[in-house]
């Protein structure tokens, strides 16, 4: 076996350049799949980190589903907005729910002195949001019941906002202007990082009632975030919330819901679908490249066998069996494809490292893929090497020796 490897190595070494060219197809196949894999792996890591911040035990009651096609969007256009009173309605009745908070989104401009931040995500919430979102404060306190009740102009700022407006100063107790109104900074949130490409620290929380008063449109649609008291009873909590909402909306049995309950898992589902597509494209391109590469390997092996007919004759005259000759050429074709895998893998790893360094994406190639690479070597090398190798093995010793 070692001898066979040595012979194959020597034969390839004699035609280094040709061998390298041949491996290109396989290398490209492995490279494509490798890079996509690295990216997906990176996405997976950041996605799971990110959506865990949504909380798997948190449900969002919205007018619409997060992900829907055009038809359902048109259908749901007629739905009524969800209002603040729904939050109170749920809070009073739910038993499987520990925390309830409205969530109202608004873009505002923040100013402090001569510094100004535009288009800052400003989210109107109640005191329960601290628990629901799971974010801790580095400083100060969160919005309280009283803040909401009195529609106080108080604000809890994200880390990015703190950095922009205050740098090294302590923001708590300071005042900033929020769309022209003076707000008192009462708390600073811990750094959150990115989520789905958005900087989660570039935001502020204010009391929901304050937000509604400032940007008053009477029947503004809001989202209600609820947290299950026991994550194990999430399904029960969902059923209960659904029932409460149906009662709130006075729906008759058999009537469709005119609201939606969204969860982290619906995001997960959407993500899974998206990455599945990416996978299929990668595998498609990869397999085409592998087949092209494999045919290249076969071609080069046929040329090699013809070129080395005399050598085969000599080996046979010295007592090499058919199986020995076949193995010799199979090992050679597998070595060529191994070379391709190696080149493709190294290139893909290089790109993965580059992505990792230059973007927030933690791209990497999982080690299990090394095994797959080996599998590809064996399969491509065997399948596409089999015919040339068998051809070599079947050569008649005398004919082969006479071959010029």
């Amino acid at each position: 076996m070692i001898e066979i490897l040595r012979i194959a190595g020597a034969a390839l070494w004699a035609h280094k350049f040709r061998a390298l060219l041949t491996t290109l197809g396989i290398a490209i196949g492995i490279f494509t799949v490798g890079v996509v894999m690295a990216i997906i792996e990176g996405l997976n890591v950041s996605f799971s980190e990110q959506i865990s911040s949504l909380g798997s035990d948190v449900m969002y009651i919205d007018k619409r589903d997060w992900f829907m096609n055009r038809d359902t969007w048109l259908m749901t256009r007629q739905r009524r907005n969800i209002g603040m009173d729904a939050a109170a309605y749920i809070r009073e009745r739910a038993t499987y729910i520990s925390h309830v908070s409205p969530r109202i989104y608004q873009r505002t401009t923040l100013k402090r002195g001569d510094k100004s931040l535009e288009h800052i995500a400003t989210i109107g919430v109640a005191e329960d949001m601290a628990v629901i979102s799971g974010t801790d404060l580095t400083n100060g306190r969160f919005i309280s019941i009283a803040d909401g009740h009195h529609r106080k102009p108080v604000v809890v700022i994200g880390d990015a906002v703190r950095e922009e407006l205050f740098e090294w100063e302590d923001p708590v107790g300071q005042r900033i202007s929020l769309s022209g109104r003076k707000f008192l900074v009462i708390g600073v949130l811990e750094k959150q990082g990115q989520m789905l490409g958005r900087n989660m620290d570039n935001m502020v929380y204010i009391p929901a009632e304050t937000l509604l008063k400032m940007f008053s449109r009477r029947w503004r649609n809001i989202t209600i975030a609820v947290k299950a008291s026991d994550p194990a009873l999430l399904a029960d909590a969902r059923d209960e919330v659904e029932g409460i909402m149906r009662r709130y909306r006075k729906l008759r049995p058999g009537e469709d819901n005119d609201f939606a309950i969204n969860q982290q898992s619906s995001l997960q589902e959407f993500y899974d679908n998206a990455t599945r597509m990416l996978w299929m494209v990668a595998i498609g391109i990869g397999s085409i490249a592998l087949i092209v590469g494999g045919v290249g390997v076969m071609n080069i092996m046929l040329v090699t066998v013809t070129e080395r007919t005399r050598e085969i004759g000599i080996r046979k005259s010295l007592g090499a069996r058919r199986s020995t000759i076949r193995w010799q050429f199979l090992v050679e074709s597998m070595t060529v494809s191994a070379l391709g895998v190696l080149v493709g893998f190294l290139a893909a790893s290089g790109v993965a490292v580059f992505i990792h360094k230059s973007t927030p994406l933690a791209a990497r190639i999982p080690p299990a893929w090394g095994l797959l690479g080996v599998g590809v070597v064996v399969v491509v090398g065997l399948i596409f090497g089999l015919w040339p190798a068998t051809k070599a093995a079947r050569l008649d010793p005398i004919d082969a020796l006479r071959y010029e």
Partner: protein, 254 residues
């Protein structure tokens, strides 16, 4: 040094310890329109430690005969036994023959072939070339190297072990080929015009070497066009048109 049996007579019936036995061995090449009769019913017996030369005009079938003896080729009719084992028996429709692996095994262990054109692997050193049959015989690496070096010593080329064929002279190449042929300690060494590509001085060196090997108890068959070279052997078979024309034995005269 030389066993007594070397003058055994070819007309003896097949003896139990015969090395090679041909009965009616025929080779016909079917070229489509015409058939080429390379061998027409050869009967031949060879005993261990014979030194045989085969002579004959070009195209008479010498190489064909050698290739069949060497199990590189198979007859289209006739019976061939090697060391009492049936290699092949073709008569009419019934064919009985060794399978490919058995033939490879015989080539590997029992036969040492020396070709006119040397047939060395060009990118491989002399030592590795000599090692090759031992690799196929699955001899262990250390023993293999030892025996390959020994064989090179025998042909006086141990100082060229690491040279490639392109760095060796024709005579040296043929000595490497002889070392390769004898490294497996075969039952018979077949040399098809071993001096055909060499000048007379180098030819003489090769013949000295073959004589030596014969003296050590090897069996040798040698194809040649030159009477001077054929004279080294103790039995000369003349082939004419695919048939044995003359089979002469001479007493030892060295």
């Amino acid at each position: 040094m030389s066993p007594a049996k070397r003058n055994s007579v070819s007309t003896d019936p097949v003896s139990s310890n015969g090395l090679i036995s041909f009965r009616g061995v025929t080779k016909v090449y079917d070229m489509g329109k015409e058939q080429v009769h390379a061998l027409r019913g050869i009967d031949l017996d060879i005993q261990p430690n014979e030194y045989i030369s085969i002579m004959g005009p070009s195209g008479s079938g010498k190489s064909t005969l050698m290739n069949i003896i060497g199990c590189l080729d198979t007859p289209t009719a006739g019976r061939y036994e090697f060391e009492g084992e049936l290699v092949c028996d073709v008569s009419g429709d019934s064919i009985e023959r060794m399978n490919d692996n058995e033939l490879a095994g015989i080539r590997n262990r029992k036969i040492g072939f020396v070709f006119q054109t040397f047939n060395l692997l060009s990118r491989t050193t002399a030592l590795r070339n000599v090692e090759l049959p031992l690799i196929y015989a699955k001899v262990h690496r250390r023993e293999r190297l030892e025996r390959a070096r020994e064989a090179l010593v025998q042909v006086n080329l141990d100082d060229r072990a690491d040279h490639r064929p392109s760095e060796l002279s024709g005579g040296e190449c043929q000595r490497v080929a002889i070392a390769r042929a004898l490294v497996t300690k075969p039952s018979i060494i077949l040399a098809d015009e071993p001096t055909g590509n060499l000048d007379s001085v180098t030819s003489r060196e090769i013949m000295v070497l073959l004589d030596e090997l014969y003296g050590q108890g090897n069996t040798i068959i040698l194809v040649t066009h030159e009477a001077e070279i054929a004279a080294h052997a103790h039995r000369t078979i003349h082939i004419l048109d695919g048939q044995i024309d003359k089979d002469e034995s001479r007493p030892a005269d060295d």
